[in-house]
Symmetry: C2
Subunit: 459 residues, 2 copies
């Protein structure tokens, strides 16, 4: 029993009436192998940007390419709603992940096909499909009303899958053009179609490489065992001391300033989590976080200290009785909004130096980081998104967060001076970044109507 | 001022008079690339064994090859000293280590040359050079006296550098032929030429591979960080808990039955150790053992728990924010005589299982081990060796041990029912197992006389 509004119905009808031509155009978009991380595809990425830019113009927007040191941004706008109407910045990306292993695809990744209502192609959901329903929403509103209800800026980057380095370098100089009241990031997902939701935050990230040195050469573990300090021992002791038995991170200053959500805020978020289903799907227990938090509280609201890689000595077949000269670990911390990536990176580095055994040399490199983003369920863009989703789906919208990081978004929100919400209709089963990536035509249709309704509700 | 006996002098003279022809023959021996670990060299190992066997016959011994599943043993004997004389089993090996990196050799490894009194070749000291002075000692005695002072059995294996698997399989069936009163292992070394010594023990070994599994697939550290248990975290915690801050191993049962040397025994052993020199040479601190032991006490008399390798997740360039499915470590424990390799292997495996976090799956494989060997400074073969060294070198002989493991020796001693001593003139600077391996002609000469004198003193 749907309570969908008349406006939502008309937007859904727009898709139903133009279904074939919209999907034709989407398939053209999907056929560009716009793999941003591989220099071999540089000209294909550029051709894709050109095509999107022209498509935006044909859709009634002003559009241009913003060059960066890596791949261009497609920037489009429609600013005729008048100065009393808010400006909404819409974010997406037209680049895609690599496709290997190619032999695991049931159909070629750049030859989109529909099977059982699902569009199969690299980028079908991440993020070309979602980008494209944003453009179609603008077309639908322009066709129906002759205008948009708000001023709109569209920012489609070509580097999301490869670190957004070039984009991040142009945000300062473009900040005037990016100014907006609201930023709607359409690159997110929901847990299940029956539980539509708006994403009100993600975690930040800091990354470190640790090298622990015990000697100037690999040593024979018989001759030297009991004399020389083994750097693997040192490393495991150092890393082990960063967390206590309850999963709490013991690094001084790590939780400084971290604020717990109020009960009221917490009560609005859908922490529903099926532990049995998780354990079946991933073969993993759910005890990896701080013991006093439930799994999704831990993954969304709490920072982590994660060892992403470790190596040292010999781990091939058989044995080599060596005390290696060096051992290495890669560490990343997922961060909450009160934590600055650089400060936390330094705290972790200082901690590791402080717990290193005497006679062990420790080098820590702090790598690229990104800030967390969290917005409030009470903010206007979040409210509009939730109401639009409820309207379009006919089911009350929930609030969720994600534990991952979308580094450019926080910077973009800062450059734009905008309040943020993240929406999208990706499902955990859509095989993002994997073979047989797909996206439901039904969800494309919902996305189109949702974006249209959000813009109306913000007017 | 040397107090060398008349007999020692005559043995040294034997070398001096035949120097060129002995070195010629040694060079022939050294030219065989008898690399036992690499199947490519199988026929060269066999040719080397043939040559040694024939050389033993030419030297006045009865000699034959004992085939094994890997490489043959050269077995030679001279048993005409009479039943009232003891039988001495002499151990050495004719196989060598691989030679790479070849470009770091100043001269080709299988083209022996003498530079500044040192013979440069793979196997020069480990163990062909030392093997060969044993044979020359027998020649010298036979030539001088027309007989040997004791019954002699010579056991030269071809697998020492590759685990002695084939040899260990034939010891039982050969035990009658191997019966001896004394076993003299001539594959050892001294710390400095000014401190000649006999080696009265080495440590045993047990080896383990640990695999720690947290999930059925690598997981995204953003989405899953705070939910799934990271197996690298589990592994570092498990490994870290095996040792306390004082370096003591906390595995239950690990030290069970381990006996400390008496003050009297300890006082006979040369624990002299130059920490500053060690730190300069290896760039390593000497705090790797249990705090209450001095470095060489720790390396010779105490067992260790050493992580020889660790791996998991991503440690290449850049970052991959992954929670890996699996992490792995290779562990070895050096053991003292009271520790059984299998029992300790099982104790370590049980301990790791017991400290694994819930939800983490742990597989431990216990690999090939070997028992420790320790003999007493008061034993007859050790006394004879010490007295012979003192006589030949003209300096009082000291007692040392080694922290390494010569797995076959304990089994050989057991099969022979013999009391053991280990001698040799290798120096720590001889580059065993490394490019530019070398051995001093002066030490070859001392070795020859030493072996001859030991046999005389045992008569």
């Amino acid at each position: 029993m749907s309570s969908t509004s008349e406006s939502a119905s008309s937007l859904l009808r727009f898709f139903d009436e133009k279904r074939d031509s919209i999907l034709d155009d989407l398939f053209t978009f999907l056929r560009f192998p716009s793999i941003s991380t591989d220099p071999v595809y540089r000209s294909e990425v550029a051709a894709c940007a050109d095509w999107v830019c022209k498509y935006c113009r044909q859709s009634g927007l002003t559009a241009e390419l913003w060059p960066t040191a890596v791949h261009p941004v497609v920037y489009a706008e429609w600013l005729d709603a008048g100065p009393d109407k808010p400006t909404v910045l819409l974010y997406g990306h037209y680049d895609v992940q690599p496709v290997d292993p190619l032999d695991l695809w049931d159909s070629p990744p750049f030859e989109p096909v529909i099977r059982a209502g699902q569009i199969y192609a690299r980028g079908a959901v991440d993020n070309k499909g979602q980008c494209f329903y944003v453009i179609q929403a603008l077309r639908a509103l322009l066709e129906r009303d002759g205008k948009l209800p708000v001023n709109v800026k569209l920012f489609l980057e070509g580097e999301e899958e490869t670190g957004s380095k070039g984009v991040s370098e142009i945000l300062d100089e473009r900040s005037k053009q990016l100014k907006a009241d609201y930023l709607l990031v359409v690159d997110s997902g929901i847990e299940r179609l029956e539980r539509p939701s708006v994403t009100i935050g993600y975690r930040g990230l800091t990354q470190l490489t640790v090298r622990v040195m015990g000697s100037n050469t690999d040593l024979h573990s018989g001759i030297h065992g009991g004399i020389a300090i083994n750097p693997i021992h040192a490393l495991v002791q150092m890393l082990s001391s960063a967390r206590d038995a309850s999963g709490t991170i013991t690094i001084p200053g790590f939780y400084d300033g971290v604020v717990e959500l109020t009960e009221e805020e917490r009560s609005k978020i859908d922490f529903d989590f099926d532990e049995a289903d998780y354990s079946t799907t991933f073969g993993a227990s759910t005890a990896g976080g701080e013991q006093r938090y439930r799994p999704l509280e831990s993954a969304w609201l709490r920072p982590t200290f994660e060892i992403n890689g470790i190596s040292g000595g010999y781990t091939g077949d058989g044995f080599k009785t060596v005390i290696p000269a060096v051992a290495t670990a890669k560490i990343s911390c997922r961060l909450v909004p009160e934590q600055d990536p650089e400060i936390i990176g330094k705290s972790v580095a200082d901690f590791l130096q402080s717990v290193a055994p005497e006679g062990i040399e420790v080098h820590v490199d702090v790598g690229h980081g990104g800030k967390a983003l969290r917005t409030t369920p009470n903010g206007k863009i979040v409210q509009a998104s939730a109401n639009a989703i409820t309207d379009v789906c006919g089911i009350p919208c929930l609030y969720i967060l994600t534990g991952g990081t979308i580094p450019i978004t926080a910077s973009l929100a800062e450059a734009a001076g905008a309040e943020v919400a993240l929406i999208g209709y990706a499902l955990p089963t859509d095989r993002l970044h994997a073979p047989n990536e797909h996206f439901g035509v039904d969800r494309f249709r919902l996305g189109l109507a949702t974006v249209g309704r959000i813009l109306e509700l913000l007017a």
